[in-house]
Symmetry: D2
Subunit: 261 residues, 4 copies
């Protein structure tokens, strides 16, 4: 049995601070075998840099997934070239720098495939997530029965549909992107752990991690506003999975820890 | 102190059955003063009819809100003409049939304003929800300090921003439309109860209430598919609010009850 | 040298009447070798039926292309099964009924490939039109140097970009879907004929073929309105191409004929 | 009788050069009474600056309209504060800097109202263009019978519908934004001149004024690409209107002049 932690979108410096504050003790207390985190907002809310990726990996994160903000910071090209543990959505066109999955090995020597996918609804017209998942999951299952998929998407319908579609073929489909934790964590009938959104690791008094006043101004004026990461207390949001030797999730639990900043 | 229950999008016949099974006993056990429900999917997933509205009101629901599916069933024109307790999003253009708010009176004689709003992001370009809320809330507050707003929207950012915007001016901003309950219920600093989505009252093994196979087929083929409400067990999803005499929420709690069908 | 006529979106009965009235004499006077027409709106504005396809082919049309309205009329499955001269966008997923191209043979025995493509911008997230065109054009060019592509798309940027992308590889990229003829017909440097939109063959006093009052009502009320094809005078809109033996367009000319209805 | 020239989206330096090269002689030869131009792309393709606005006004342009790129260059706040002849879309929320219309006076002392409007379809959820036009046109008609409206919009349906809606109430509805001239210029039954798009004044060998390779790369890779205005020959695209004393358009003619760069 493996214990895996999946951390939702890490938002800027406050999010990274929360990871540093919460993760080491969780790794120890929960005896975690693997930690995956979505890092698309790690650099000031927009993308990631190589330095920040190293900072997060040094905290105990094993694999970092991305999303629609993958290319916001141009250092991503550097990241994808030098750090295979950072993956970008797998359904970008062939020839896209970097990889859409990573095959991690735990300390106990167990292989775990981690896949990153971007939804098509309200986002980019990348390759079909269903078709792309078919291909990648089939390939990874030749090497391991343990596969996690980060479905980074806006529409709840697309995330849930992919969960049902992959039920029994992957260990878990974990949603990210909306930055709001959903209360629908469950184990689907064939053993796939599922949650529509893990939620953000970032400032609590904010709009998706951004200063609320700025977002309200944008909605009211319909004009561009320069966004800034909010201040104040921070929530660490993650999901804890227990996965058996056949790759079936036997337990899925939301974890939230709040910190004063 | 008032106890108010808000039920999330009631999906078709299974959703209505769940309301009938759960609501009467909740009204009694919780001593509810007011029940509001989103009914945009009550008629086979698409809109509402006058008969169905009456059926739901007879269960103990006091006010029914709608959303982007308001006009799916043409009987809505009949409903809005004859049943003021059914409201449609307030930000439709002036001259739209029906009303965007309803002033309910509890058995104890307390007035509670209920407002329905539709988000602009990824939905219809109706009037600005922020501007429309300013107007309606100001008007309702002349009559009562207790105002609930159903923010029916896709984007988490728009819902959360409206929550912060109205904090201290309404008793609660309750999100609907994504059909997935979020775990972010809270009381904002000025006393406004908030949740990004109350979640659907409908079939558990489904995609937003619809048969999963049909939705997957649509996503994979990109062709039109006739949707049907799913079968099997059903969840009743609601939020229970306690609101004080000044209109401030003092407690907000998610309620979920599962039923075999 | 081949003379090819491409007719823009044929809108309902008025559009079909215009084809019957204008096409036979054009075939004769211009000594046309091939006629292609977009038929996605041929059946009352929404899709096509087998009877209507036969009716149009009987007028002298050799190949019928479709678009985002392909699946509006369920008889399309019948059409695609029995009439290979009707093609649907080539970038639908593998396994989609019908074909995305057709290899026509003129009376003089010249092969002409006709490809149908749907834009991704503001439409469906089908396969990338650029990537799909690469594949299909490469295949067709093994059989003939004459290839026409109907780029059915909303965004002018996507249509023009595909024109430049295929310049020298196809005989012409002809845009459809916006129902408004553009005045930018030209021959690109490597010999590809190009126009952003051929324009609709349908009622002149209308909004894209639909009764104007109905469309205005929809825009003003933001509520569903049942659309009906407009009445009154009709325009026949087409583009006349001259293509040399190497598949290069040597002339491109807009043709418009107005008819009282 | 008044002669009015309306110039389509001026794209960067090449577009401004074309204005300087073509406009002065047109003003003289055609004895123009008024010149209006869309300037949303005048500053390197993205917005406008006060210097560039002055440069264009010095060429003989009387009124500059904007569009969805209004706020791209932050100098726009400066422009709108100091130069009332530059207007932004009228359907931005109340309180937006600048004005949505300008009342120009010709040398002969005739007042001409110029209105700028942004479409809602595929763009921003601003105020309804139909409702906003009702208000502004009614106000302007108290002062003059001559009113021009720049409908800056993506969807042909929205532009055409607004044309029909305002027929007889304004002198002309002139479309901008798609950067491709349409061939549907006409005078509607009640005397309103109409064209779906005037087309861009900018580089001919480009995608909407931008270097084609860059745009193709963006469409193929689905990743951000830094856009640059294209080089090479330039087209000056405009529409020439003759408007009678009652504000009715009696003639509408497309004008295109090509220049080597
Ligand atoms: Fe995201
Ligand atoms: Fe994110
Ligand atoms: Fe719903
Ligand atoms: Fe909804
Ligand atoms: Fe069409
Ligand atoms: Fe179309
Ligand atoms: Fe524009
Ligand atoms: Fe433009």
């Amino acid at each position: 049995m493996l214990k895996i932690l999946f951390i939702g979108d890490i938002e800027g410096r406050p999010g990274r601070k929360a990871v540093k504050a919460c993760l080491p003790s969780l790794i120890e207390s929960e005896e975690l075998d693997l930690v995956v985190a979505n890092g698309e907002n790690a650099a000031g809310g927009f993308g990631i840099t190589l330095d920040i990726a190293k900072e997060l990996l040094a905290c105990g994160i094993d694999v970092i997934t991305m999303g629609n903000h993958t290319w916001d910071n141009r250092d991503i090209y550097n990241v994808l070239e030098h750090e295979p543990r950072v993956i970008r959505p797998a359904n970008y066109p062939k020839g896209t720098p970097g990889q859409g999955y990573y095959l991690a090995e735990t300390d106990k020597g167990v292989l775990v495939g981690v896949v990153n996918m971007l939804g098509q609804v309200f986002l980019e017209p990348l390759r079909c997530p269903f078709e792309t998942a078919d291909e990648i999951v089939t390939n990874l299952r030749r090497k391991t029965d343990l596969v996690l998929l980060d479905m980074h998407a806006e529409a709840t319908s697309e995330k849930i549909a992919l969960g049902w579609y992959l039920d029994g073929r992957v260990s878990a489909v974990l949603g990210t992107h909306t930055h709001v934790t959903t209360a629908d964590e469950r184990i689907l009938p064939q053993g796939t752990g599922y949650i529509t959104d893990v939620g953000m690791t970032g400032p609590i008094n904010s709009v998706l991690g951004i200063n609320s006043e700025l977002v309200i101004t944008k909605f009211k004026t319909k004009r561009p506003v320069r966004f800034e990461v909010a201040e104040g207390p921070v929530a660490f949001n993650a999901v804890l999975l227990e996965v058996d030797e056949f790759g079936r999730t036997t337990q899925i639990k939301r974890i939230r820890q709040d910190l004063e900043n």
